[in-house]
């Protein structure tokens, strides 16, 4: 047990770091400790999955990064191009639910981030249609969310996240509510978009297989209090397809990550 926690030493990022969480803690007003001193550095261009059981604070970490929640202790340091202190960059956020406005068309939903910045419809038409094009939903611009399937709604949500040109994507279990076939498709879409648009992705999931398939690095977290127990690099090319699921590397990594997750949960058998 102790030996495994020692294995949680952070792996040095191979790329330029863009944000550093330093001993970030979050205690909710009801006394729940969601995070206790989380140290995490995200490198430029990484696909970093946060994997762990419910209550390990992975979503909280994402919300803190997005500025939707404030840490109760520790610091979030954004790092600028010159390695100095930087401002929070433009962020795209994809929630677990599609989180679309049901009263607005697909177009208006994707337009929203630009609209909130005061950009008129006419001027942003190309950007919005371009974003819809990237997720294959341009023909559905005039549809309402209720007319779309679960997977299509999620794609609209992704289009909305990318329409601002954000390079940092935060995704909070975006495909957890979808069936497996749709999830596989969307996983491939995310890999493609990441390659195309040069994203850095922080991806929260509780699926070992999803995290190994997508990530360049997997951080396994344990609950109560939320902390990092393992930091696993997936040394496979960024561009992957279904073939990858049959490789030895994939299987080996799945086993390794599963074992870490098991350890992370083992300490809390009463859950």
């Amino acid at each position: 047990m102790t030996a495994d926690l020692d294995a949680a030493r952070p792996i040095a990022s191979q790329s330029r770091p863009i944000v550093r969480l330093e001993r970030v803690g979050k205690t909710f007003s009801n006394g729940t400790v969601a995070l206790a001193g989380l140290d995490l550095t995200v490198g430029q261009g990484e696909f970093l999955s946060l994997l762990g059981p419910s209550g390990c604070g992975k979503s909280t970490a994402l919300r803190i990064l997005a500025g939707l929640a404030a840490p109760t202790s520790g610091e979030v340091r954004w790092i600028g191009r010159d390695d100095g202190e930087g401002a929070r960059p433009e962020i795209g956020f994809v929630f677990q639910e599609p989180t679309l406005m049901p009263w607005a068309t697909v177009f208006s939903n994707v337009w929203l981030p630009l609209r909130l910045k005061g950009r008129p419809k006419a001027e942003t038409r190309d950007a919005v249609m371009g974003a819809l094009e990237m997720v294959g939903l341009a023909p559905f611009a005039a549809s309402y969310p209720r007319e779309l399937s679960g997977g299509m709604k999620m794609r609209v949500s992704i289009a909305r996240a990318l329409v601002t040109g954000a390079k940092l994507m935060l995704m909070d279990e975006p495909f957890a509510a979808l069936d497996e076939i749709t999830r596989f498709k969307l996983n491939n879409d995310i890999l493609r978009l990441r390659e195309q648009l040069g994203w850095t992705v922080l991806f929260v999931t509780h699926s070992v297989y999803e995290s190994v398939y997508l990530s360049s690095r997997i951080v396994v977290m344990a609950a109560r209090p939320g902390r990092v127990v393992a930091d696993v690099r997936v040394d496979a090319p960024a561009v992957r397809d279904e073939e990858f699921r049959t490789t030895d590397l994939y299987n080996r990594t799945c086993r390794e990550v599963s074992a870490s997750l098991h350890q992370a949960m083992g300490a809390h058998d009463h859950l």
């Binding site: 500025g67 406005m101 909130l116 209720r146 779309l148 679960g150 997977g151 299509m152 069936d179």
Partner: protein, 292 residues
């Protein structure tokens, strides 16, 4: 699959085809069986009841000042339409004016209350007190303080109509999806943008439910207030005509007035439902027909 009970969405998702065209809702033929039934069944019941009523009155030789037959009620309605239509117009005016004022007042106050906690704390309890006190008990006071009877009746109707619109709109403005609120915060939306683009559209279904309740209550309150006021002569509404008919034992006219009052209620309900349907039909579950 999705948790949301969106039928069109589930249908498309079931095929798990991600890029299926959204299915157009099947067009109902103008004279479908269902539509025909919806018209024919209530009409048949009405005809049966009228026949039963007519038979009962004739068979027992009941005097018109106790219970007039449907034929007599109808001829009275036509013969007295001059008097009754004037009263109907007054009642309609009061009902719709009360509803209109309550709409403006209720919505504005709801927005203010959800924008400022202090405002809510200060006003909401008094709105509740005004609502839970039976209007019939306040009416005598209002009639004393407000000189003009019509204005007094209008004020009563307004008070009753106001609350359901206020409380429903407040509930709607507060029941916005938290993830959407997060999204607006993430993109740095101003308070005004959040209100206009998120809270007000999200509150619509609640608001329209309040409108439908308020519409029905406006008519009831207009009648109750007029009973309390006992206003007479020109410029009085249907409620007074009904009271007057009772005093004079002109029961056929009482029935005729009652029919007009019911018809008004139906029209108000139908209008508010129509407005609600038109506003929500593109997106809200309540306005969609369920496919089985």
């Amino acid at each position: 699959m999705t948790h949301a009970p969106d039928h069109a969405g589930d249908r498309a998702a079931d095929r798990s085809g991600d890029l299926e065209a959204p299915a157009a809702p099947p067009r109902e033929p103008f004279l479908s069986r269902d539509r025909l039934l919806r018209v024919v069944v209530p009409l048949a019941i009405l005809a049966a009841l009228l026949l039963l009523w007519d038979w009962y009155v004739r068979a027992n030789d009941i005097k018109p000042y106790i219970l007039p037959g449907p034929g007599l009620v109808l001829t009275t309605l036509v013969a007295d339409f001059g008097t009754l239509s004037g009263a109907l117009l007054v009642t309609l005016q009061i009902t719709f004016l009360a509803l209109f004022l309550a709409l403006i007042g209720g919505t504005l106050l709801a927005v203010l209350m959800t924008q400022s906690r202090l405002f809510e704390l200060a006003l909401f309890p008094y709105a509740v007190i005004l609502q839970v006190t039976p209007i019939i008990a306040i009416a005598p006071l209002i009639i004393i303080y407000v000189r003009d009877t019509q204005s007094a009746v209008l004020l009563c109707a307004f008070i009753v109509t106001f609350f359901p619109i206020l409380s429903n709109t407040v509930a709607g403005l507060k029941s916005v999806d938290h993830n959407l609120l997060d999204l607006f915060q993430l993109y740095g939306a101003s308070r005004w943008q959040t209100l206009l683009l998120l809270k007000i559209p999200a509150a619509q279904p609640y608001f329209f439910a309040g409108l439908r309740i308020g519409g029905g209550l406006a008519l009831i309150a207009a009648v109750v207030a007029e009973f309390a006021a006992g206003s007479a002569g020109a410029g009085s509404g249907l409620a007074f005509r009904i009271l007057e008919s009772q005093y004079r034992l002109n029961i056929p006219r009482l029935f005729a007035g009652l029919i007009l009052l019911s018809a008004t209620g139906v029209v108000v309900f139908w209008l508010t439902s129509l407005v609600s349907h038109l506003a929500l039909r593109r997106w809200h579950e309540s306005a969609l027909t369920r496919e089985t």
